[in-house]
């Protein structure tokens, strides 16, 4: 690929993200459509979660049900870093949870994301080890158990108020309302979708390199893969570590979007949600999984007008989708570059409708 094309692509993504960010928040970043922001951020996080889980479940065919555990590790490690390291590391940040400018948040968000991502990756390495001996249902149970262990451990860590909700640190202050250092509100659309773009790019590069074929070979037939000279151990652990890393980053982003962190956000069902996105999108298909992540986040919102019936209609739609396309929306296919570009602009188009100012 010529250099100008590669940099052109990066510039295009940055431009679109900045535009997206600007359209929602406006110049002041104080008042914006919080509902829209919420849905969009959840879409972005869902993309990161689903595309990274796809590396494990889709590429290498290992069945992990514990994805939300990595998310939780990332969230709490990130939040703990920004809360406890606040005065030393990021003195420029407001302590009252008020919005932070995009560029002011750059360094802190990089720091907390890396911390969350690396912590999750380390745990991912540990969880990846049993995958060397176990497959299918057994591995699913192990990873499920792991997510529960993480949940129980965090619940018992007092320093992050794991049992209730982590809202920052209490500090001595004259002003009662500012009696604690809130987890800074660092996350904005720009960062979430930047990471989403990054994880999609990494997944694509992996898939269409010699490593991509090796991952798929491990999924198809481990013994044959080994006979080809593929180090299956390395690929399985690599998949877990990489997947956990991005999920950890998503967790840290989530933590700095919420004003408080509750263990309720990391229940087992959330793992299932992500697995559903991956299966629905098509195991292994990056574009399919991305679209499914967005679809499954927006669908419940789109169904809001029918009020209580949406809890009936939503699962029904899932069943119909699975019956009509058991291989997932995209099966094993990928959408082309041009198609993806069109898709991005249409998302931006949807978004640019005038937001209602709060």
């Amino acid at each position: 690929m010529p250099l100008w094309k590669r940099f052109g692509g990066i510039a295009l993504v940055f431009g679109l993200l900045l535009l997206l960010d600007h359209l929602l928040y406006g110049p002041s970043r104080v008042a914006h459509d919080q509902y829209k922001e919420d849905v969009l951020i959840r879409c972005g996080l869902a993309i990161i979660l689903a595309v990274s889980l796809n590396i494990v479940n889709g590429f290498t065919g290992q069945f992990s049900l514990g994805h939300i555990g990595f998310y939780m590790v990332g969230a709490y490690v990130g939040a703990a870093l920004s809360t406890y390291g606040h005065t030393h590391l990021f003195p420029q940040l407001p302590t009252d949870g008020s919005p932070v400018g995009l560029w002011t948040s750059a360094l802190p968000i990089l720091a907390v994301s890396l911390a969350g991502g690396l912590a999750a990756a380390a745990i991912g390495f540990l969880v990846g080890l049993p995958s060397l001996r176990l497959r299918g249902d057994y591995l699913a149970i192990i990873t499920l158990g792991f997510a529960q262990i993480i949940l129980v451990i965090v619940r018992n860590i007092k320093a992050v108020d794991g049992a209730t909700s982590f809202t920052g640190l209490p500090v001595a202050s004259q002003d009662q309302a500012l009696a604690h250092v809130a987890t800074p509100h660092l996350t904005s659309l720009f960062w979430v979708f930047l990471v989403a773009a990054l994880v999609i790019w990494v997944a694509y590069s992996l898939r269409f390199s010699v490593h991509g074929l090796a991952f798929l070979a491990v999924r198809e037939d481990e013994i044959a893969a080994e006979a080809m000279g593929i180090n299956t151990t390395r690929y399985k652990v690599l998949a877990f570590v990489l997947s956990a890393f991005f999920t950890g980053i998503a967790g840290a982003l989530f933590a700095h979007y919420q004003s408080s962190l509750s263990n309720e956000s990391f229940r087992f069902e959330r793992s299932i949600d992500v697995v559903v996105m991956v299966v629905l999108g098509g195991l292994g298909s990056i574009s399919g999984v991305t679209i499914a992540a967005v679809l499954l986040t927006i669908l419940p919102e789109a169904l809001r007008p029918i009020a209580q019936y949406r809890l009936v209609v939503y699962p029904l739609l899932l069943v119909i989708l699975m019956l009509t396309r058991p291989q997932g929306i995209f099966g094993r296919e990928e959408v082309s570059r041009a198609w993806l570009r069109g898709q991005l602009t249409s998302i931006a188009g949807w978004f640019s409708r005038r937001p209602d100012r709060v």
Partner: protein, 234 residues
Amino acid sequence: MLILENIEVSYGPIKALKSVSLEIAAGEIVTLIGANGAGKSTTLRAISGLVPSQSGRILFEGKEITNKPADQIVQLGVGHSPEGRRIFANMSVRENLELGAYTRRDRAGIAEDLERGLTLFPRLRERIGQNAGTLSGGEQQMLAMARALMARPRLLLLDEPSLGLAPFLVRDIFRIIQDINQQGTTVLLVEQNAHLALGIAHRGYVLETGHIVMADEAKALLANDDIKKAYLGE
């Protein structure tokens, strides 16, 4: 080229190989015959590092490869076309072949070997973009062999290439094995069809419940009365 010295392999409490020793010289076709469960496939798996050996030594071109990771053994030049073909069913024929060359980085050489493989197995050329799972049994066997050859092995381990194939296809496959051998690849062939295997091999070993019970020139084994009775159905 390859030497096995007193190799022992167990699956849990079951001893599959009890002290197997054999030797293959460069350029040979050597066949390993024996009944079901005699340990033929296990021998191949031990050589290519897919199962660990409890004791004994395996030497390939003078280098000890006992219990080395499978990927390193492939890199040293041992190709394995495993039992039951084990092709990657949901990938195209081309992707299967590319994976065969996984350990190699010389693009020109890989392209050359791909061309050679497709010349050896013209059926694969017709089906290059097709999903491997849609191939017939014979074509899948060809693919498994072509895939193993993509690593440009000096020693090719073939496990039951005739399994489940129509007789005319089996003859084709065996002719191709001879071609491969004549192009300079040493072959260790495991077969239940002892008659055919001994027909193309230079030498043969007979494996019985984890022991080598006989070793001789292929012609001599074909003429041996015990072998005739036990394995050739005469």
